[in-house]
């Protein structure tokens, strides 16, 4: 059974078709790198899988059924992380807030919950963050904390929306390595959105490239080609291979790099 399956799915946000009649399926245990220019629908696709955005047409199936909000089998690391910068709450209480956080009443967590948090923190090498206040953590540490949180409850599908943003090159590699290790061990299916393909080249099984309201899913050799990307970008694209790196160029400019720069200057508009 496929973990995620789209059959001629159209996703519409604010009267605009973000994805139009898109079909593809993702198999269990796959590590999918999700790429594409800003506004191509990466976050929108994740919201649809989470059951937050019903398709306006077509059929979307997650674990063989219609997506439902609050599915415990899905771990999610959202892109817009509104962590108050001055929040002096310790990591443990931050993570614990998401455990059954949708239930009414006063928060409480059992010894088993506590052990689960502890194990997951150890898994991503973030055990020391439990007692540290968020305000004293670096960007990389917060990211590890959020990753641990996404893994709590042993999800079978992990949706990571731009987990590398705001991390330096070293911490980006660490984050990718941790996700790869945990997901291989546990057979978790991963959708990992990123701006740059090269960091994910050795890790990903297949690439899902979004653009121009369309999607292409396949191996790097199948998808990262001039004809496919020219269709997705709606402009002439050249693909340049050098020393194990792949550059996607439009009229001599690196389009992925340009998108990345743009993000740092103006934030996201998905």
């Amino acid at each position: 059974m496929n973990v995620v399956e789209l059959d001629r799915v159209t996703l519409r946000v604010g009267g605009r078709d973000v994805l139009k009649e898109v079909s593809f399926s993702i198999r269990p245990g796959e590590f999918i790198g999700v790429l594409g220019p800003n506004g191509s629908g990466k976050t929108t696709l994740m919201r649809a899988i989470l059951g937050l955005l019903p398709p306006s047409s077509g059929q979307l199936r997650v674990f063989g059924r219609a997506p439902k909000r609050g599915d415990a089998a899905i771990g999610y690391l959202p892109q817009v992380r509104t962590v108050l910068p001055d929040l002096a709450l310790r990591g443990l209480d931050f993570i614990a807030s998401s455990l059954n956080g949708e239930r009414w009443g006063v928060p409480s967590f059992s010894r088993a919950d506590r052990r689960m948090i502890d194990e997951t923190l150890a898994l991503v090498g973030a055990r020391d963050l439990a007692q540290r206040p968020l305000s004293a953590m670096s960007g990389g540490e917060r990211q590890r904390l959020l990753l641990a949180q996404a893994l709590i409850g042993r999800p079978q599908l992990l949706l990571l929306d731009e987990p590398l943003i705001s991390l330096d090159a070293h911490h980006q590699e660490v984050a990718i390595a941790v996700v790869r290790k945990v997901c291989r061990e546990r057979g978790i299916t991963v959708l990992f959105t990123a701006h740059e393909l090269n960091q994910l080249l050795v890790t990903l099984d297949r690439v899902l490239y979004l653009g121009n309201r369309q999607a292409a899913l396949g191996t790097v050799d199948e998808v990262i080609t001039a004809p496919v990307l020219s269709r997705l970008y709606g402009t002439d694209i050249q693909v340049v291979h050098t020393q194990g790196h792949i550059f996607v160029m439009s009229r001599g400019h690196d389009v992925e790099h340009a998108a990345h720069q743009h993000d740092h200057d103006h934030g996201h508009h998905h």
Binding site: Q79, L84, L89
Partner: protein
């Protein structure tokens, strides 16, 4: 205590019993105690959510409500509760974003104070109470008011407990909370209603202009002192209580206004906590060499 010289213990006990010989002081301690605990607990979440300004605006809207109630012959507290509650619910429904918009809130706040002035203008007999509304008059609290405050406190805390878990989740990680099925708008609206109730009670003690002294000062200090959730809530409530009671004691012996004493202690507590945490921070970092993970 046992190490203290005997004579000074006797003097202190003697003067403290002096204070409680007056019924108005007993009433003031009871009322301030109830309100301080509620303010500290509700304020903790107000600070966590970064919505302190919204809380401030609610109290100003309450001023219009209280003077308006006077105009039509109702007790000010009902106008206060009615207006803040309505305003809190409207702010919550208008969406999470609007309740965090400084400019919109500031304009509504000023408008509310303006209306308060208009109501006072038409009901001049009420003018003597204006100062009490603005700056509080805890020494005039009677038994009936204490009963009202106690009932309001129980309602406020029950409501806060009912929404606490999703409130924390939605405050810390709104995107994830939404994905997990937390009704964000309902939670934020319900919370602002809780804040409205707390503000109405707080205004009875320190006045609408000084609700920050109990609702923001102690919780903000608590978050500097401890990073745990439950310890933070406990410290916030305990600090608010200590500041309210110490403020009353100080006012009794100094003849300064109670609200001034509480405001002073609140500011003192916050800056002391700020200083202590930055001192701790410097000393914690001095011996640690940053290692890349």
């Amino acid at each position: 205590m046992s190490s203290m010289p005997r004579t000074s213990t006797i003097t202190i006990t003697g003067t403290i019993t002096d204070m409680f010989q007056y019924e108005f002081m007993n009433n003031a301690f009871a009322a301030a105690g109830i309100v301080a605990v509620v303010s500290g607990l509700v304020g903790y979440f107000l600070v966590m959510r970064g919505q302190t300004f919204a809380g401030h605006a609610l109290s100003h809207i309450g001023f219009a409500g209280a003077t308006g109630a006077g105009l039509i012959g109702l007790a000010p507290i009902w106008g206060l509760i009615g207006f803040t509650l309505a305003a809190g619910i409207v702010m919550g429904l208008l969406s999470e974003r609007i309740s965090n918009r400084d400019v919109a809130i500031g304009i509504v706040l000023a408008l509310a104070l303006g209306f308060g002035l208009l109501f006072l203008h038409y009901y001049t007999a009420f003018a003597s109470q204006a100062a009490a509304l603005l700056f509080g008059n805890v020494l005039a609290v009677d038994r009936a008011t204490i009963a009202v405050l106690a009932v309001l406190a129980v309602i406020t805390l029950l409501a806060l407990c009912a929404i606490m878990r999703p409130l924390i989740f939605a405050s810390l990680q709104p995107e994830l909370a939404e994905a997990k099925g937390v009704p964000l708008r309902f939670v934020s609206t319900a919370f602002l209603a809780v804040v409205a109730l707390a503000v109405s009670q707080c205004a009875q003690i320190v006045g609408v202009l000084l609700v920050f002294t109990l609702m923001v000062g102690p919780p903000a200090a608590a978050q500097r002192i401890t990073s745990g959730l439950w310890s933070g809530l406990s410290v916030a409530a305990a600090l608010a209580l200590a500041e309210a009671w110490l403020g009353l004691t100080l006012a009794f012996y100094s003849d300064w206004p109670v609200s001034f004493c509480i405001a002073m202690l609140s500011a003192g507590g916050y800056f002391a906590a700020l200083g202590a945490s930055s001192w701790r921070g410097r000393h914690a970092h001095a011996g640690v060499i940053e290692t890349p993970a």
